[in-house]
Symmetry: C2
Subunit: 192 residues, 2 copies
């Protein structure tokens, strides 16, 4: 039921198009063509473009955070290493040829002024991301404030990487995060 293949195919196409071109520059016709589905079926599953956008953002939110957490879990022997691994994951993302910035920052920039739904979706996504980094920070023996500051570095790296077109900001942000973490949580020692 939650895995209706047609629905997923539509969302795959919508995600690719919305993310690459922006939401407003992608018509329902383009989604229909890309998904190889009829317009009637598209509107049966998503009664309006707003619904499709909401579903796109909801799925991307879940997928993005799941991917990040999976990388952190697999690459990290400690919360401290996990927090730093966030930036390696970001760097991989930034270096992908289809990388075009954070979909939520982009959507907010595009529709934040006129769509409360998009604003709310962006806020939820960023809240969850920042809360996750605060958790990692406190688990690593640092304060929640340090987690917030590291989140700001991650956000800045996303926008800077997108606009400049290089993945380098990930390493700069990681370096700064390492310093902040070391300053707050002490050396590599887990002794607190």
């Amino acid at each position: 039921m939650s895995t209706d293949p047609t629905r997923e195919r539509i969302l795959d196409s919508a995600e690719e198009l919305f993310y690459a071109r922006g939401i407003q520059r992608v018509g329902m016709d383009a989604v229909r063509d890309a998904a190889g589905v009829t317009l009637r079926r598209l509107y049966q599953l998503f009664p309006s473009k707003g619904d499709l956008v909401e579903a796109y953002l909801a799925r991307r939110d879940a997928r993005w955070l799941r991917g990040l957490a999976a990388h952190v879990d697999s690459a990290a022997h400690s919360p401290r290493a996990g927090l730093l691994a966030v930036f390696d994951w970001l760097e991989d993302w930034f270096a992908r040829p289809d990388f075009h910035g954070c979909a939520f920052i982009n959507s907010f920039g595009e529709l934040g002024g006129t769509s409360p739904q998009v604003t709310a979706a962006a806020r939820r996504h960023k809240d969850a991301f920042h809360a996750y980094l605060r958790e990692l920070a406190t688990a690593a023996g640092a304060s929640a404030d340090t987690g917030t500051q590291i989140a700001l570095l991650a956000e800045g790296a996303m926008t800077t990487a997108a606009i400049s077109g290089t993945p380098a900001p990930a390493r700069q942000a990681k370096q700064a995060a390492l310093l902040l973490l070391t300053l707050d949580a002490g050396g590599v020692a887990a002794s607190a």
Copy 2:
């Protein structure tokens, strides 16, 4: 000639509308109404909407950086204090009722995927901002890398303040910048 009052009035209206609602959701008719000018005159001064958008971004870039530098110059007895004053200026900006994020990040999110002109304008603006922070950092006795990292904090604060709707990220970023600066440029020694 660079201060044609009609041209300035049009740009004032365009800036207010583009910034508040997004570029694509503002028609030339809305600009005409807000500027109290005829459509013919509008097209005489800006032959296409793309030209108007470019002029909007160019003027905002200059004004924003000039405002920042003026605040830094007036509030700072030292380069170190100037670098930190950047975040006070950001906080004032974030707290303004019409604050809606960085116009360049928003424009990039809206049109970065389809408009090379907008992408280039955003890149120029961010390059200039980051270069300015690197200058301040090196003048304060820190490395250019520290300036870059502080720029990432500033960028992250902008997007987070915009999406969350609070000016608090400015203070968090300032706190982190202070730590990075102190770590790199030594203690309060420089600020005699």
